[in-house]
């Protein structure tokens, strides 16, 4: 394959809405120009970033395929197209930081350090999964890397992140809490309450709004009177940063700046990362709300191939090198699938475990 072919696998697409889409919101209709320009990183770092994005992409393409095979069930929300956001954002964080994410969190979990094996096994529902198969795709958790889910109530993670940051502040720990949420969450009261608490109490929260323009099928302009999300955060006295979420260079720069500011001031910063989801909202979504053409237009801004093209243009990447990295990612996926396949089902006799904490267990 070549660098532009990291597209959908055969046979695993949700049915298309075809030309039935109507009233397509203008907000997503015309993507800005693809990111260009030099990548200001040395080659090893640039290739590590590219590797991150390829690992996400290949893992999720496989997940879509496995969904088609009914190996993965329930809800599966893919991040394909949005890889630059998690990739840039997670690299701005430190090990002591907390991460709170949404139900579209495979990428964040992977880049936070969960093994692809544990993620894949979780999606299979096997007890070797990171949440013992109790959570599934939407509820990936990892205590070791301070990864607090995998929260599937839109906006639900926002107050939690304020509380995690409050705990750090009260304990005198130098850590921040990165909270990821989509632009749909901005309509929830939880967003506004958390924004106010974080600003009022000056809590070290890095609010990362992944604005992919659609809350399921509802375009931003169809659900918000004020579509300037930074203006909403700013109205609470929260500092804001906006970056092109299709450009991993821009995301990392914005996130590093924002993280630095949170660490220096101890207060919150809101980052809006404008991005686009190439796939359906979930595997049940027929995509009636947007035009296929719009999706294709946005794909010309795909974070992987545009980044790869820039690296090639400056001589930091050759096609064989790209293919080798991609093959490596695919091998990791194959291994993860093998691990999940070999995983075991938790005995039904254990059904009632982990509802409450057993005596003697670490709280």
């Amino acid at each position: 394959m070549n660098t532009s072919a990291a597209g959908p696998p055969q046979g695993a697409r949700a049915p298309s809405g075809g030309s039935a889409a109507h009233e397509v919101a203008s907000v997503g209709a015309i993507p800005p120009a693809p990111p260009t320009g030099p990548v200001p990183w040395d080659k090893p770092y640039a290739l590590a970033v590219l590797t991150d994005m390829l690992r996400i992409r290949r893992m999720e393409e496989k997940a879509a395929e496995l969904y088609g095979e009914q190996k993965i069930r329930g809800f599966l929300h893919l991040y394909i197209g949005e890889e630059a956001v998690a990739t840039g954002a997670l690299r701005a964080l430190a090990p002591q930081d907390n991460v709170v994410a949404t139900y579209r969190e495979h990428a964040h979990a992977l880049l936070r350090g969960l093994s692809m094996d544990a993620i894949m096994a979780e999606m299979y529902g096997k007890q070797e999964g990171c949440s013992r198969g109790r959570g599934g795709s939407m509820h990936l958790f990892d205590r070791a890397s301070r990864f607090y889910g995998g929260n599937a109530i839109v906006g639900g993670g926002l107050p939690l992140s304020a509380g995690l940051a409050l705990a750090d502040k009260l304990s005198g720990r130098a850590a921040l809490t990165a909270c990821f949420f989509g632009e749909g969450a901005v309509a929830e009261g939880a967003f506004h309450e958390a924004m106010n608490l974080a600003a009022l109490w000056q809590l070290p929260v890095l609010f990362c709004c992944e604005n992919n323009l659609y809350a399921m099928g509802t375009a931003l302009a169809r659900s918000e009177a004020q579509t300037d999300l930074c203006a909403k955060a700013a109205s609470y006295g929260v500092a804001t940063v906006r970056a092109d979420g299709m450009d991993v260079v821009a995301v990392l720069a914005a996130m590093q700046q924002a993280a630095r500011q949170v660490r220096q001031t101890g207060g919150p910063v809101f980052v809006e990362l404008r991005t686009y989801r190439f796939r359906a909202h979930s595997m049940f979504d027929p995509e009636l709300y947007r035009d296929k053409r719009e999706v294709e237009d946005w794909k010309t801004r795909g974070p992987i191939h545009t980044f790869s093209a820039r690296l090639k243009a400056q001589g930091s990447l050759s096609e064989p090198e790209f293919l080798a990295l991609d093959a490596q990612a695919q091998a990791e996926v194959q291994q993860a699938v093998a691990f999940a396949e070999a995983g075991t089902w938790e005995p039904v006799a254990d059904l009632l475990r982990d509802v409450t904490t057993p005596p003697g267990a670490p709280a």
């Binding site: 509820h139 409050l166 009022l200 409450t356 709280a363």
Partner: protein, 329 residues
């Protein structure tokens, strides 16, 4: 040696003790600091512990209960006060979808050692939106422990046990109880468990199974019944989830008749759950059908006479028992 304290003072003493004992403990909620607590429970604590640990919140129940969950995940031992159970509905998502489920959906990785206290119940003419008893709803949810301290001893003793629990604990303090008084021992605070029901008055003819604000009413009803020659046992559930089936069944088997007294509405109530369990576990020990006294199925009215008519009252309990005794074989 014992001393006489109010329920309010008992809760305050418990809070003070917890705050002194563990730097991870802090109290947050609406008007817990400068105002001194809506029911004056936290009065004076701000002066002793400062605004970081007696933390006034905006009117953001979802936000600050969610923040309490986050702080618990982050290693603190928060006590979140919600002004009334009606307002807790604004935080229902955080309590049910997050606090109760996080341990399970993380495969046992994250516990939520959070205590949420709130006032519950009617009887003060504060009308429909400040008078409900939704503790039974919370008792529906696996992952939560639900407590209803009804005595001074429990008001004083339950908090430290709740804080020692690694999982979320909800404490329902009936607003009518704050002014009640009772004796507790001098010196060391009473040690109570948060897993068992307790017989508050022994009897042999009928078991009155109740909790919270209905406990004093059930005890008065038992007095009246005694005067009529009926020996009523009064069982205080104390812990609404998990229910202490063994103690409930022991009381029912002893008395062979039972009336459940619950200030919640009857339909789908905790009373219904208790009765169903008795039917499952002690049906053949009964000498009469079970009965219950609950609130009438109407939003709690403002007018005093209508409010009184809507709630369980001593006379209603007495009448229910008399009717049961009449139905006895």
């Amino acid at each position: 040696m014992s001393r006489r304290v109010s329920y309010r003072e008992a809760v305050r003493e418990a809070l003070r003790e917890a705050l002194r004992a563990d730097p991870r403990v802090f109290l947050m909620g609406e008007d817990v600091g400068r105002y001194g607590g809506t029911y004056a429970v936290s009065k004076g604590l701000l002066d002793e512990f400062g605004p970081e640990r007696i933390r006034d919140t905006p009117l953001s129940e979802l936000g600050f209960v969610g923040a309490g969950i986050g702080a618990a995940l982050g290693g603190m031992r928060p006590i979140v006060e919600v002004m009334t159970v009606n307002f807790s509905l604004l935080a229902l998502d955080a309590i049910v979808n997050s606090a109760a489920m996080l341990r399970h959906m993380s495969g046992g990785q994250f516990s939520v050692p959070l205590v949420i206290r709130m006032a519950t119940g009617a009887g003060r003419q504060v009308a429909a939106q400040h008078s409900n008893s939704f503790e039974g709803w919370y008792a529906h949810v696996p992952g939560l422990r639900v407590l209803a301290p009804a005595t001074i001893e429990d008001a004083r003793g339950m908090l430290s046990a709740a804080l020692a629990d690694p999982d979320p604990v909800l404490m329902f303090e009936h607003a009518q109880l704050y002014n009640s008084e009772g004796e507790i021992p001098e010196g060391a605070p009473p040690v109570v468990d948060i897993c068992s029901a307790r017989v508050r008055r022994a009897g042999t003819d009928v078991s009155l199974i109740t909790h919270g604000g209905c406990l004093p009413k059930a005890l008065r009803a038992a007095e009246e019944l005694a005067a009529q020659g009926i020996s009523a046992e009064v069982l205080d559930l104390r812990v609404l989830r998990p229910l202490d089936d063994a103690t409930i069944m022991a009381s029912v088997r002893r008395c062979r008749r039972a009336v459940v007294v619950d200030e919640a509405w009857r339909s789908g109530s905790l009373a219904a759950e208790v009765m169903a369990r008795i039917m499952e576990q002690a049906f053949f020990d009964l000498d009469a059908p079970l009965a219950r006294v609950c609130s009438e199925e109407v939003p709690i009215p403002y007018a005093r006479h209508l409010e009184e008519a809507a709630l369980p009252q001593v006379a209603k309990i007495v009448a229910a028992v008399q009717s049961l005794m009449g139905a006895a074989p």
